[in-house]
Subunit: 274 residues, 2 copies
């Protein structure tokens, strides 16, 4: 295929564009439209329903900030559950720790298959013997499983669209049931600049459900607005407690200074109820 | 004019696009090409030589983070010098403090004139009786002036291009001469994701020139990579000293938690000399 341009609208009248060297895949799975492009600027880029999910160039921002705040704050994470995350990046970061098992529940087997082929830097993690992949609806899985986890990572897509259910109170209430005592949840929460009202509503029920409920922020250059929001949720573990002494390996974005700094919220995102 | 699309390349093969409702101005000044568009997504947008300088929607990220770290750390800023900043946004933020005078040195009078007309939310600051506007080359001004300032804010364009001289050692050395005892410099330093090697080289001479020399970061959604770097420079004032008790008015991004957090640097931007 010759050079092609693709774009993602972040508002009805603005967004980002990429010139692709070629399109590697275009497929309609049972759940969504999946495309993978090879670009000079960002390496390989995965789109689901036209939205950039992952680029080889900047995936580390997102995956490090989704995973390490929860994992570094938990004193001894042994069992990890990942909801979504079919590209394998979240799994890769979680497996940096001496966990016994990491269960990844992804609804779309085609995403996993495609990422194993085209994103080896992320999806190599699926080969780790501690990893277990379950192809299932994450929302249903957490209601039915008897397993309990030290850390749960919610690597869903956006609060507006097919993943909407993964951003609602009932889902977080069921997630809480799956935590072991002292457990921690790290969850992607959306774009503070585009989903601000959603984030405000969500904060109300998260604070109701968890003793420690904190939003935190980090950059993701190719996500809308370039700034991304995550949630740290726990009944026993504060995100600002003493952290593990060492980060697990050589990271590109996260360190313990960044960890603490990420919980400082800008004025426009402060909780006005206080 | 009918609806038009304009774009800025952030790499040779990717960038951002805007659909403009209309183009309000297109002019070749003695120094640069200046365009102003009206957009549904970002309000009015100023471009110089094709690069987005300011949008009404997100200018507060940049202007608050350029100005307030220096102004809040200085115990008693009375006199302020701004190099560049012809849109008036930096001046507006500086004038929130009880300063006696703020001198703005902008090389391009046409930028000031256009922003007074099209960006009243920023350029209203030019009407403040404490503001003095000097149309001159900032690099030359600081070599010739006998004035000394408590705070100097460098609101230049990028390190690559016509403003390159404003990012070099000789310029900072001359700036230092213009500081009053206990003075502080706040300077825009570029895109950490795109000017990383430049930032590393610059750090070496900044550390050599100033006792306190710190990079800090903040988001600017419409700038390349969405993440922006600034420098805090002083011989006597640490950026993490006790700050002023109150921020001057109702801000949208900056607060004192954000101030401290902004100085936490990601792994990829850490100083490897230590």
């Amino acid at each position: 295929m010759r050079e092609a341009e693709f774009r993602e609208f972040h508002t009805p009248a603005s967004g980002i564009f990429f010139r692709a060297k070629r399109r590697l895949l275009s497929e309609r799975t049972p759940f969504q439209k999946m495309e993978i492009y090879d670009t000079a600027s960002h390496g390989r880029v995965l789109l689901l329903d036209g939205l950039v999910q992952t680029t080889e160039r900047d995936e580390f921002f997102y995956h490090e900030m989704l995973v390490h705040p929860a994992m570094m704050a938990h004193p001894r994470p042994r069992s990890v559950l990942i909801i979504g995350g079919g590209d394998g990046g979240t799994l890769r970061e979680a497996l940096r720790y001496p966990v016994r098992s990491a269960v990844l529940v992804e609804i779309d087997a085609r995403v996993i298959a495609a990422c194993r082929k085209y994103f080896p830097g992320l999806a190599l993690s699926f080969k780790d013997k501690r990893a277990e992949t379950v192809v299932a609806d994450g929302n249903r899985y957490i209601r039915e499983t008897d397993c309990r986890f030290d850390v749960i990572l919610v690597d869903s897509s956006d609060p507006i669209g097919p993943s909407a259910v993964l951003h609602q109170r009932a889902f977080y209430s069921a997630l809480k049931r799956c935590l072991r005592p002292g457990g921690v949840i790290g969850a992607q929460a959306g774009a503070p600049l585009f989903h601000l009202e959603h984030l405000r509503r969500k904060r109300v029920f998260l604070k109701d459900l968890f003793s420690y409920s904190h939003y935190y922020l980090g950059p993701v250059p190719t996500y809308p607005g370039g700034l991304w929001c995550y949630a740290f949720l726990s009944d026993q573990v504060s995100p600002l407690r003493p952290l593990r002494k060492r980060v697990p390996g050589k990271l590109k974005y996260y360190n313990t200074d960044i960890h603490r700094a990420a919980f400082a919220l800008p004025e426009f995102l402060k909780d006005r109820r206080r």
